[in-house]
Amino acid sequence: MSMVFISVIALVGLSLIFGAILGFAAVRFRVEGNPIAEQVNALLPQTQCGQCGYPGCKPYAEAIAAGDKINKCPPGGEATIQALAELLDVEPEPLDAVEGEKPQMVAFIREAECIGCTKCIQACPVDAILGAAKQMHTVIANECTGCDLCVEPCPVDCIDMIPVAQTLQSWKWEHPLPPGTLIATDRESLS
């Protein structure tokens, strides 16, 4: 009988001690914010374009952390979906966008037509448009994320989204054909 009492007391004592340690740790080492949302946010392209239906990348990251789909980011494209699927250990899904994946774009203001209304400046999420009221505006191409948000507010439609031109610096080698796949000319030369 005493054996039972001793074991019950010992177990209760242990649970109290561990409970106290766990409780202390929960308070002492509490993680600020949502770490998953932070990790998701780091993978998003940060164009802040809102094409996912959320007002910016961070809200979408939080929504993904809360269980939203991972295929709503057109600027990120397949690469982002893959990375998110890997991070969250879910099945990658095809991109959910009308026009599919678009090349990297950059805004361009036809300066002769700009009336200096500052509406695009207010719309730009990354302050990439330079100008003042009744002064011509221009886009700082290096800072532009190609998010498209400046096009709609322009009252004179003088903003174009143009694909980023390939330069010698941005040119890259293509992947060779995987071994075993022959192009037509190779087959001819072999036969």
């Binding site: 802040q48 999420p125 302050d127 990439a128 994320t145 080698w173 060779p176 071994p179």
Partner: protein, 700 residues
């Protein structure tokens, strides 16, 4: 002089040398091209900006482009002539993309600009020498084209102990450095002296492969009393790679992601050293280089000293190009070079060889077969990597594993692809994988930057909003304070003021005025309604309203009269002024109404005009009376006058209304009974008005 110990290279291959093709004759001078295409980027680093304009005349050696960026090198005019074009031009690059270039139409005079050589480099300071080298636009002539002056200015805490002069030239076909060492030995030695003066190294090693015996003899012969070591290396590809050469000569391995300078070692190509000599001793900028023209498609393969910007086609024709024999044109050697997309591309500072190969000489690679894991590639890799593993990771685009297997230590020498029995284009896999990883890193950096800017903007907007809120609050507080103060003053005022009743009655008048105007507005609205609908109910309502409006007016008038009689303090002058204003305002209203009447001519307007005329007259009369008898007559006369006038006015309005009603009924084609009733009403009203008018006249 003891022999320098060497540490044989691990890996490497022995491709056919084919060097005798081009090193059998001395360096030729290429004929001056009619047009020189000088690209604005000829080195590793940021492109330069043109410092000349189209139409400018430039002298040979004149600075034509420079950049404010640190990692860059200025560019000079290779010959004298006129700038005919600045813009996109063919460029020696695999992609075939154009690059901005300055095109010079040469005048054939080859006229030098004034040169400023250093009097004696042996007494010059390192800073002076480095300045000279920087201004001469020298970048590495071995292949990569890194600006030399940056390489020569290592951090102060990392003194260079070993200076290596790279004359290995391990790539097949190329003999530019070979003939340079044979023919420009004296310049090479002086160039090494200059570098030694700048860097003060403990050892200077001149590395030459044993397949260049003439060059070895020439360099050894020119050494004289110098304590430099000429190290002869066994021929193996790629012993000329910077890291490989360092390993062979010192046994030290340059760690991943570090540069040789961090080990106290510095490597310079022999061509670069000669360019340094030319810049310091002769004051000449880098405007020409020695290029190997070779390949079986050339009738007369050779080495030429050609001006930067000379189109490849000019040089190839000079060497006897047989176009039908040429299968492809390669810039650089067969191992590391790349196929040129066109023959129009110019020679730039890094062009060491143009290889016009025939189809038999360099056949197209057979189609790639799957990897059989033979491991030959790992055996020949001079960087100790695992090429087949990298190949599989590149196929699967596993960037993390690629980086874990040190993909970025690959020097793309091509030894692995050379030995691959499945002829897999391994180097292309590594190049594309490297490009992908770099691109992703760039994207990530850009995303991070955009995030920072976005967050900064959000913060800024928040602060602005807060500031505005604070201002709004402060304004509201200020307003409340001033109101409270006013209320306090108003509370104190009655105590101080003796004539307290005036204030009260003023308030009363204000209230009455508001009531009167409101009644008037209601009346007008009802009249409009009546006009549109014209029912009997509305008629009754309008009449009632007009009555109440009249009452309100009367009340107001009596209150005004009472207040004015009470307010003894109001001076006669003020009263006069008030009356004047009233009379002129009445007149203005009258003229306006008349104008309206002229244009529209309705009954109602007629009535209004009449009414206004009466009020204007009344105002005039009041004014006259006031002017005539400012003291006595005015005050008692006024209320009486206004009472009589009010009655007349009322009658007049009544009459006009009746008339309007009658007209409306007529227009609506009402039955005779209503019409006659209305007629009777109207005549009655007119009579009333007449009598009132008469009594008033009698009163006056």
């Amino acid at each position: 002089m003891s022999t320098w110990p060497i540490h044989p290279l691990r890996g490497g291959v022995h491709p056919p040398q084919c060097k005798t093709l081009s090193n059998q004759q001395p360096i030729q001078r290429a004929p001056l091209a009619k047009q020189l295409i000088v690209p604005l980027l000829q080195h590793l680093g940021s492109p330069t900006d043109a410092h000349v304009g189209v139409g400018d005349y430039v002298l040979k050696g004149q600075l034509i482009a420079d950049s404010a960026n640190l990692i860059s090198a200025p560019i000079h005019a290779p010959s004298s002539g006129i700038i005919s074009f600045i813009g996109p031009q063919p460029y020696p690059h695999t992609s075939g993309q154009l690059m901005d270039a300055i095109v010079i139409d040469t005048d054939g005079l080859d006229k030098w600009c004034p040169l400023e050589p250093l009097a004696d480099f042996r007494t010059a300071s390192a800073t002076e020498l480095l300045d000279k080298i920087r201004l001469a636009g020298i970048s590495g002539l071995g292949g990569a084209g890194f600006p030399t002056v940056i390489k020569l200015s290592p951090a102060a805490n990392q003194p260079i102990k070993t200076l290596i002069i790279n004359g290995t030239e391990c790539e097949p076909y190329i003999t530019a450095d070979d003939v340079l060492m044979r023919e420009k030995t004296a310049q090479l030695m002086l160039g090494i002296d200059i570098l030694a003066r700048i860097l003060q190294p403990e050892n200077v090693l001149i590395a030459i492969e044993d397949n260049k015996p003439e060059a070895i003899t020439a360099v050894r012969g020119a050494l004289n009393a110098r304590s430099y070591h000429v190290v002869v290396l066994p021929t193996i590809y790629p012993s000329g790679g910077e890291r490989q050469l360092i390993q062979i000569l010192t046994g030290q391995e340059v760690p991943s992601a570090k540069i040789p300078a961090q080990l106290g070692i510095l490597c310079q190509n022999v061509g670069t050293v000669v360019a340094v000599h030319d810049a310091v001793v002769e004051g000449k900028p880098l405007i020409s280089r020695i290029t190997t023209l070779t390949g079986e498609a050339l009738h007369n393969p050779m080495n030429v000293e050609c001006l930067i910007g000379t189109p490849a086609i000019n040089l190839l024709e000079f060497a006897g190009l047989q176009k039908n024999k040429m299968n492809r044109l390669i810039a650089g050697g067969p191992m590391m070079g790349f196929t040129l997309p066109s023959l129009d591309v110019p020679v730039i500072k890094t062009s060491n060889c143009l290889l016009a190969a025939s189809a038999e000489e360099l056949p197209a690679p057979p189609p790639a077969m799957p990897c059989i894991r033979c491991g030959d590639c790992a055996e020949v890799c001079p960087a100790n990597l695992l090429p087949q593993q990298l190949h599989f990771y590149a196929l699967g685009e596993d960037h993390a594993q690629l980086q874990a297997h040190n993909l970025f230590d690959c020097i793309e020498c091509g030894a692995c692809a050379y030995v691959c029995p499945s002829s897999i284009p391994l180097v292309q896999y590594y190049r594309s994988a490297k490009a992908d990883i770099r691109e992703q890193a760039k994207k990530l950096a850009k995303a991070e930057h955009a995030k920072e800017r976005f967050e900064f903007r959000q913060e800024r907007l928040r602060l602005e909003e807060e500031r505005k809120d604070a201002e709004r609050k402060a304004r509201a507080e200020r307003l409340a304070k001033t109101k409270a103060e006013q209320a306090k003053k108003a509370a104190q005022a009655p105590k101080a003021d003796i004539n307290s009743s005036t204030g009260a009655s003023e308030d009363e008048i204000k209230r009455l005025k508001i009531a009167a105007s409101m009644a008037q507005v209601a009346l007008r609205k009802a009249q409009k309604q009546l006009e549109i609908h014209g029912t009997a109910e509305l008629q009754a309502q309008v009449e009632q309203l007009s009555l109440s409006a009249e009452q309100a007016k009367e009340a107001l008038a009596s209150a005004t009269a009472a207040s004015s009689s009470k307010a003894a303090s109001i001076s006669a002058d003020d009263e006069l002024k008030r009356l004047k204003i009233a009379s002129s305002m009445a007149r203005v209203a009258l003229t306006k109404a008349q104008k309206q009447l002229d244009t529209h001519g309705t009954e109602e307007l007629q009535a209004q005009v009449e009414q206004l005329r009466v009020s204007a007259e009344q105002a005039q009369q009041a004014l006259e009376a006031a002017t005539r008898a400012p003291d006595a007559a005015k005050k008692p006369a006024k209320p009486e006058l206004s009472a009589a006038e009010q009655a007349i006015k009322k009658a007049k309005i009544e009459t006009a209304m009746k008339r309007a009603a009658l007209r409306k009924a007529e227009r609506a084609e009402a039955d005779a009974e209503t019409l006659s009733a209305l007629q009777a009403e109207l005549s009655q009203a007119e009579q009333e008005l007449d009598t009132l008018n008469q009594t008033e006249k009698a009163d006056v």
